[in-house]
């Protein structure tokens, strides 16, 4: 039952009758006796901007790896717009529109920026199954790749090799590649990680510019960014979800403050 996506109102709780973009039920991961993710129930509404925060080692990246299929879950279920994708391998989930970026850049460093995005685009359209027609003849794909680069401000670097770019701009390529897959749900794993604070504005701009047809889950440590960007926040600790709510609710929550946020000035002021 697919109702049309309502505009996401900031601070909205679960809207009745709307199929969540992403839903996990009891998602678990065990590593040789260590429970890294302990039964997580997470719901992402369509078009949302949802942040996942928590101390290091809380299991956030592991959770993203489980959702994307990079790691196999020990238990639990996963739904993408109502479809049960628990058994689907990683590449099939991506094809269904569930796309993730990596905390440490996972790019094709010796290829140009354009070729990186082109790989994603040609993969999505099925062009990459063609063994005969030269890639240079796929002009529409090249145009699309370039348009994506333009949308994140990378059009000037299109023909430069990724390895030659500064780290902050490589991070943008990471996002551009994800966009090349036309995601319905986008999982961003610490997009500003490793980016010098002077270079993070273009990144934030790019994230801001993303459309509302896209549900975004973002893992972040930069609290300022989280409170600027997110409409809902989930707090994760020791493999479980501690709390979930609006930024205001989370920053006011005593348990969260004690466990994680600390009595920081700028948090208190929110």
């Amino acid at each position: 039952m697919n109702t049309p996506l309502p505009p996401a109102a900031a601070g909205a709780a679960v809207a009745p009758g709307v199929v969540p973009a992403l839903e996990t039920r009891g998602l678990r991961k065990e590593f040789r006796g260590l429970l890294a993710v302990a039964g997580v129930d997470l719901v992402l509404q369509p078009g949302t901007r949802h942040a996942l925060i928590g101390p290091n080692g809380a299991g956030k990246t592991t959770l993203v790896n489980l959702i994307s299929g990079h790691l196999k879950a020990s238990g639990g279920e996963l739904f993408l717009y109502g479809e049960n994708i628990t058994r689907r391998p990683e590449h099939r989930r991506t094809r269904l529109g569930l796309v993730r970026t990596f905390q440490i850049n996972q790019l094709f460093r010796q290829l140009t920026v354009l070729e990186n995005v082109l790989l994603a685009v040609s993969q999505r359209t099925g062009a990459s199954r063609n063994l005969w027609r030269p890639l240079g003849r796929y002009e529409a794909l090249a145009d699309e790749a370039l348009a994506i680069l333009a949308s994140v401000g990378l059009e000037d670097d299109a023909l430069r090799r990724v390895a030659e770019l500064p780290y902050g701009r490589q991070r943008l390529v990471e996002i551009a590649v994800a966009l090349g897959l036309r995601p319905r749900v986008l999982l961003l794993d610490e997009p500003t990680a490793g980016v010098p604070s002077g270079e993070s504005e273009p990144l934030l701009e790019a994230l801001r510019a993303l459309g509302r047809d896209l549900a975004i889950l973002i893992i972040e440590h930069d609290m300022e960014m989280v409170f600027r960007f997110a409409e809902r926040i989930s707090v994760m600790m020791n493999g479980s979800l501690l709390r979930e709510g609006t930024p205001a609710e989370i920053s006011a929550d005593a348990a969260v403050r004690e466990a994680y946020l600390g009595e920081d000035d700028h948090v208190r002021s929110l």
């Binding site: 990079h70 993730r100 063994l131 005969w132 059009e155």
Partner: protein, 332 residues
């Protein structure tokens, strides 16, 4: 608006020029043709060079483009050699072109079956599996010496004249063109595949195999496809070997042969198709002339040069050439 359009043209131009034919690409073929007329007494040697180049080209597809490291590629060469040789010596089917195709297909079939199993593995496990499989074939061939002739070799290979007219005479003239045409066809096929979107995905698999599933790519079947194509081509090389030499021994499966083709490709440069040509020609000709003088010095020299090439990290002679050209361009 205007600026974006010019960039779009630039991007398209960049992609388009990758598959365009360049003038320099005629060089190896011109040289191959010229060599035939310049060295009429060494034509047989020339045929063996072409066979080695084809073999190295097949390895480039999997190693240079898909990043699959194997120490047992001679397995496919050997299968092709014994398929073509056995067809003639045991079954009396002497038509060379169909025999060659049979050799390629046999190797290709083994390629797809072994690939479907082995290509799920990586690193040391894959290296050991390919190494062990190559040696297994050699041992199996030794045990089945009624077919293979063991280490004494398979005699009685009598290829009939090509197309009914061109026979493999003492000078080997016809077989030189036979090998050259086969090499050309396989090269054209490889070039097409490598410049296609499929070929681009192979580069992705080579550069970052972990990222590929995350962009929706099912890696395994692609590896199997290129592995099968590579096996087919190596099988053709083996078949040509059997037909041109009219003799095959178990040495075709040896680790030495797998190692040699690897060194040849590394020497010339991987991932460039032409590295096979450069490496193959240089290696074979040097070996043919120097190894006779002193096998120890030759072997030491190969080791030393290999160490040098790997230390330089410029990807063989072609890579070195590109590096030097870039440095010159930066100066000017």
């Amino acid at each position: 608006m205007h600026g974006v359009d010019s960039r779009a043209l630039q991007a398209r131009a960049y992609l388009a020029q990758r598959h365009r034919w360049r003038l320099g690409e005629a060089l190896p073929w011109a040289l191959a043709i010229a060599a035939f007329f310049a060295f009429p007494n060494s034509v047989f040697v020339g045929t063996q060079v072409l066979i080695l180049v084809l073999f190295a080209l097949s390895l480039d597809l999997i190693l240079g483009y898909a990043g699959i490291v194997t120490l047992g590629h001679a397995a496919f060469f050997g299968i092709g050699a014994y398929a073509a040789g056995g067809l003639s010596a045991h079954l009396g089917w002497n038509e060379p072109l169909s025999g060659l195709l049979f050799a390629g297909v046999c190797a290709g079939v083994i390629g797809v079956v072994s690939g479907a199993i082995l290509l799920r593995y990586h690193g040391l496990a894959l290296i050991m599996l390919t190494l062990a499989m190559g040696i297994m074939l050699q041992e199996a061939g030794n045990a089945w010496d009624s077919f293979t002739g063991g280490y004494d070799g398979l005699y009685g290979i009598k290829p009939a004249p090509l197309l009914g007219r061109f026979e493999n005479d003492l000078y080997g003239y016809h077989y030189y063109w036979y090998a050259l045409i086969v090499l050309l066809l396989m090269f054209l096929l490889s070039r097409r595949v490598v410049h296609s979107p499929f070929g681009a995905s192979l580069l992705g698999i080579r550069e970052n195999p972990a990222r590929m599933p995350a962009i929706g790519c099912a890696v395994l079947w692609r590896k199997i496809v290129v592995y099968t194509l590579s096996a087919f081509m190596a099988g053709l090389a083996g078949g040509l070997f059997a037909q041109s030499n009219a003799y095959v021994t178990l040495e075709v499966f040896s680790f030495a042969r797998s190692g040699t083709v690897l060194i040849v490709l590394i020497l010339g440069g991987t991932g460039r198709l032409y590295g096979a040509f450069l490496g193959g020609a240089i290696y074979y000709l040097l070996e043919h002339n120097l190894a006779k003088l002193s096998p120890e010095f030759w072997q030491f020299g190969v080791g030393l040069v290999l160490l040098g090439v790997v230390s330089l990290r410029h990807n063989g002679l072609l890579g070195l050439q590109e590096h030097l050209l870039q440095r010159i361009r930066r100066r000017t």
